[in-house]
């Protein structure tokens, strides 16, 4: 059961059905702008801030490609000053989950934002997506159909193949098209008051809607994804564990910091790696070399990744943008997925699940994890 409404549409495809919704939101002045995936020059997709209903046809929400985690865009947009007009932000689940974490960290202001999270069957890496675009059929609609039939696409990004959140755990509104008769209608599900206001603003009435088939399909998909996740964690333990294997995996790292730049939850304005700590004079490098006989230049690959993990593991939403941005093929996602899964287990914390829940590292508990501390002498 859910609180919401089905939206019937007569368009040719799901994308057009959704476009009717966006058009109505703008035309009825329910919101004044929509941040959503749009087709850019050459056919790829990127987040676009849309205010003119005449350009709705350029929106591409069903497109299975994700160039950036849009939560990062929202941080950039709202941190200095929230918008003065209402903006609907249309996100896939890992973006909505990153948004939840950034709201908790006071990096995104929810003022005048309405978060709409759509079902995500998965996304492709940029080169794979470009190839799919050359095909006759729309890769987005094909994927939705495949996943709706219980299938899985082995070509999806590893982050998506192992993602147990095809539907976002938190949003103001969820848009559902998995496990539903998606060629005729999709679901608008209100999870918050803001969400309910949006639906009533469209002149639609909210009711209890039964979702048995949808829940069954999502459960099955989540189980499949969790199995793939277990397999990944097992492979990490076999292939990337221990000093030799780990350093072999990190050896191609050039410390370009791309993984850090694209990470939605890596938010510090004053970054440790851009601090004077790393502005070392030549003699400090010589000192390191003398101590060990030789030192790699530039140095601190392991330190860089370990520090990022220590800072981010509890909040990592496992969107895999880090690995997409890596030009050197470092398995950054695998390493982050494996470490963050265990750290999140330790605190029994699921990032992005609940916007009211405290972040484990900023919540004070008098007694916590005592086993980890050394006993008193």
């Amino acid at each position: 059961m859910a609180r919401g409404v089905f939206r019937e549409y007569k368009g040719k495809g799901l994308e057009e059905g959704l476009q009717e919704l966006w058009r109505e939101l703008l035309e009825r002045d329910v919101v004044q702008a929509i941040l959503l995936p749009m087709e850019v020059e050459g056919g790829l997709v990127a987040p676009g801030l849309l205010t003119d209903a005449a350009r709705i046809g350029e929106s591409r929400v069903v497109s299975p490609y994700m160039p950036v985690n849009t939560a990062r865009v929202l941080q950039m947009m709202t941190k200095t000053m929230p918008p003065s007009e209402k903006v609907a932000v249309v996100l896939c689940p890992c973006e909505a989950r990153a948004l939840v974490e950034l709201v908790k960290l006071k990096q995104i202001s929810q003022e005048n934002l309405i978060v709409i999270a759509f079902d995500c069957p998965g996304t492709y890496a940029v080169d794979d997506y470009k190839k799919l675009l050359e095909g006759k059929e729309d890769p987005g609609e094909l994927l939705v159909e495949k996943v709706n039939k219980g299938g899985e696409d082995a070509q999806l990004r590893e982050a998506c193949r192992t993602c147990p959140y095809p539907s976002a755990p938190w949003a103001d509104i969820r848009i559902g098209f998995l496990g539903l008769d998606y060629k005729k209608r999709f679901l608008l599900e209100a999870l918050t008051e803001k969400g309910e206001e949006l639906i009533t603003g469209l002149g639609m009435e909210i009711a209890d809607v039964p979702l048995k088939e949808r829940e069954a399909l999502l459960d099955k998909l989540v189980a499949q994804r969790k199995k793939a996740q277990e397999q990944l964690l097992k492979e990490q333990q076999e292939q990337l564990k221990g000093p030799d294997k780990l350093l072999a995996a990190l050896s191609s790292c050039i410390r370009c910091h791309n993984c850090m730049t694209v990470c939605p939850v890596c938010y510090c304005k004053e970054c440790f790696f851009k601090s004077p700590t790393f502005e070392m004079e030549a003699d400090r490098y010589l000192g390191l070399a003398h101590k060990r006989g030789a030192t790699r230049m530039p140095s601190d690959m392991l330190l860089f990744h370990l520090t990022r993990m220590a800072h981010m593991a509890h909040a990592c939403v496992q969107c895999g943008m880090c690995e997409e941005a890596c030009p050197m093929g470092v398995p950054v996602f695998r390493l982050f997925k494996a470490t963050s899964a265990k750290v999140q287990d330790l605190f029994n914390y699921e990032p992005g699940k609940d916007i009211e829940e405290e972040i484990p590292i900023s919540a004070f508990r008098e007694e916590e994890l005592d086993k980890i501390q050394e006993p008193k002498i």
Binding site: K241, L247, M301, A313, K342, L346, Q373
Partner: protein, 56 residues
């Protein structure tokens, strides 16, 4: 600390080389005791396996 030790364990780096204990400024003997204990532990463990590697 929980985070750091968990990460090191997953990556297969020796988390027992990292210590956390709280010692007040008035607890000199405890401080000395910990220094001794850590020294003994590390001597037993031997050289840091990451010591000679370049990508660190």
């Amino acid at each position: 600390m929980g985070i750091i030790k968990t990460i090191l364990d997953v990556l297969g780096l020796d988390s027992d080389r990292v210590y956390l204990t709280w010692i007040s400024a008035s607890e000199g003997p405890q401080f000395a005791e910990w220094a001794k204990r850590i020294e003994e532990d590390i001597k037993k463990k031997g050289k840091n396996p990451l010591g000679g590697l370049l990508t660190t």
